[in-house]
Amino acid sequence: MIEIQNIRYAIGDSLILDQVDAVIPKGEVTAIIGPNGAGKSTLLSLASRLIKPDAGAIRVDGHDVHHASTAEMAKLLSVLRQENHIASRLRVRDLVSFGRFPHNRGQTRPEDSEKIDEALDMMEMRPFENRYLDELSGGQRQRALVAMILSQDTDYILLDEPLNNLDLVHARNLMVILEKLKNVGKTPILVIHDINYAAKYATHILALKNGTTFANGPTLEIFQSETLSNLFDSHISIQTLDGQLIALHH
């Protein structure tokens, strides 16, 4: 369980996040949604220890992320951020094996190799494992980064717009993988813009607007025409098609 308690974060005079409160349950796929500038990425930056809140705390299974040891947090919580400009020439397999670093401090054991293989297979990056990152397309690179996060094998996995650069098929595959991870007890949390992906794969929704919590609850509860229309200040109609929630927003 991740408890976000009364988070406040300001840059200079502008308040980015204020009174953000939410509980993200363990063992569910949580989508963080909201309009541009709602503070979604800032919330992830806070969770990833990149910045510190001015007030409040984020606790993962009771550990305050800003006070617990960062080496221990890395075994519990992994974060893939949106901007990942990597100038280093690394092979895909080397990159993915760095995901094991919090567990093995660089000494690859047999069980690490298994995790690495597993992550590469899940992201369909096995055929490219010996390629350098700068020899990959944007989508392949994104998949390599996700594979690295998967090999980190943490209970909580935070992904900031992981579908960026991914084509239709790979986007769906990633969502299916997150669903599978949920089924083995992991807790994937992702910032996502396509609310239809959220509707289909997320079981829990945290909606942010203007730097504060707008709604937080099970997907079925949040996905109401009125709630989403208010969230985005734009008409959104929620329909059910073949037993599946669909948001019509255009």
Partner: protein, 319 residues
């Protein structure tokens, strides 16, 4: 196979370096000629070791700085570290002219550290996806720091003195003999230490976000890397002068051939660095025999050519 080939080549360069010089000694005369062994031990061996240590440690510190700056085109000799060391040396010369070499070195290290820190703070605001901005800023900043050294040197009539340490024109090994190069062992030890935390430098090259995600202390690694870069640079400036391009060209060649996983590549960076500087030093000793030209000139010509090649032959991205 490659290892064997490189090993043989390294041994050949090493032996050639031992037996190249004005005093004619060769392996056969070592025990018959009375002073041959003495020349070998007092002059040739220290010089050869100095070249190897300087070449390898400058190359490694170049690699580390490139990881810290997340940019392929920076090196300590242009990004203000070497120039900072010169400012430190000038400051000590003005404030405490009688200071020992050790004190000079400490001043050089401190000033180099400060100068490197300012450089890293400066480039933090530059976008990482515009890789050529950083070396431009580095050149301007390096020029600025060296202008400080030159200004004070000029005011106090120490310009020639400064030339001895700095400015590429004087990076050379002809003055090296036993008792005049031992400080370099500090650089050797630090380079070895760098190898033991190679993974952490690779990770820091992935960016601050990734470093934190993997549970590493970002500041500690940056501080340790800066320490290595500054001490290695300062020590080599104090003992042999500045040799530009080693820290730039060698990591780039290594990166092209075998990528940036430092645990795998650092030993090769070290070997390549020492071999290239050894070869340059041999050329510097023989090109105008019996006189010597500074090794930095030879390496500068070579380095400039490789740098141009790096700029124009950037890898094609697969789509």
């Amino acid at each position: 196979m490659t290892k064997l080939l490189v090993g043989v080549l390294f041994a050949l360069l090493f032996i050639a370096s031992l037996f190249t010089g004005v005093a004619n000694i060769n392996p056969g005369s070592l025990f018959s000629q009375p002073d041959a062994l003495w020349i070998l031990l007092v002059s040739r061996l220290p010089r050869t070791l100095a070249v190897i240590i300087t070449g390898s440690s400058l190359a490694i510190s170049g690699m580390i700085l490139q990881m810290l700056a997340r940019n392929r085109f920076v090196e300590p000799a242009t990004a203000g570290t070497g120039q900072g060391a010169a400012v430190g040396i000038i400051a000590v010369t003005i404030l405490a002219p009688q200071a020992s070499l050790m004190v000079k070195m400490i001043a050089a290290v401190v000033a180099a550290l400060g100068s490197t820190l300012i450089f890293l703070l400066l480039i933090r605001r530059l976008p990482v996806d515009r890789p050529l901005l950083i070396p431009l800023v580095a050149l301007v900043y390096g020029g600025f720091v060296s202008a400080i050294a030159i200004f004070f040197a000029y005011q106090l009539d120490l310009l020639q003195y400064l030339e001895v340490w700095m400015h590429g024109m004087s990076g050379e090994f002809s003055g090296i003999m036993m008792g005049r190069y031992e400080l370099l062992w500090i650089a050797a030890v630090l380079s070895l230490l760098a190898y033991f935390v190679a993974d952490q430098f690779t990770i820091i090259g992935l960016g601050k976000e990734m470093t934190l995600n993997l549970g590493l202390g970002y500041r500690q690694i940056v501080a340790f890397g800066m320490m290595i870069v500054s001490v290695v640079t300062a020590v080599s400036v104090v003992t042999v002068g500045m040799i530009p391009f080693v820290g730039l060209v060698v990591p780039n060649i290594a990166s092209r051939i075998m990528g940036d996983n430092l645990r795998a590549s650092l030993p090769w960076v070290a070997v390549l660095g020492s071999m290239l500087v050894l070869a340059s030093d041999l050329l510097a000793r023989t090109i105008r025999y019996p006189y010597e030209v500074p090794v930095s000139i030879i390496f500068g010509v070579f380095g400039a050519c490789v740098f141009l090649w790096l700029l124009f032959a950037r890898p094609v991205h697969a789509r």
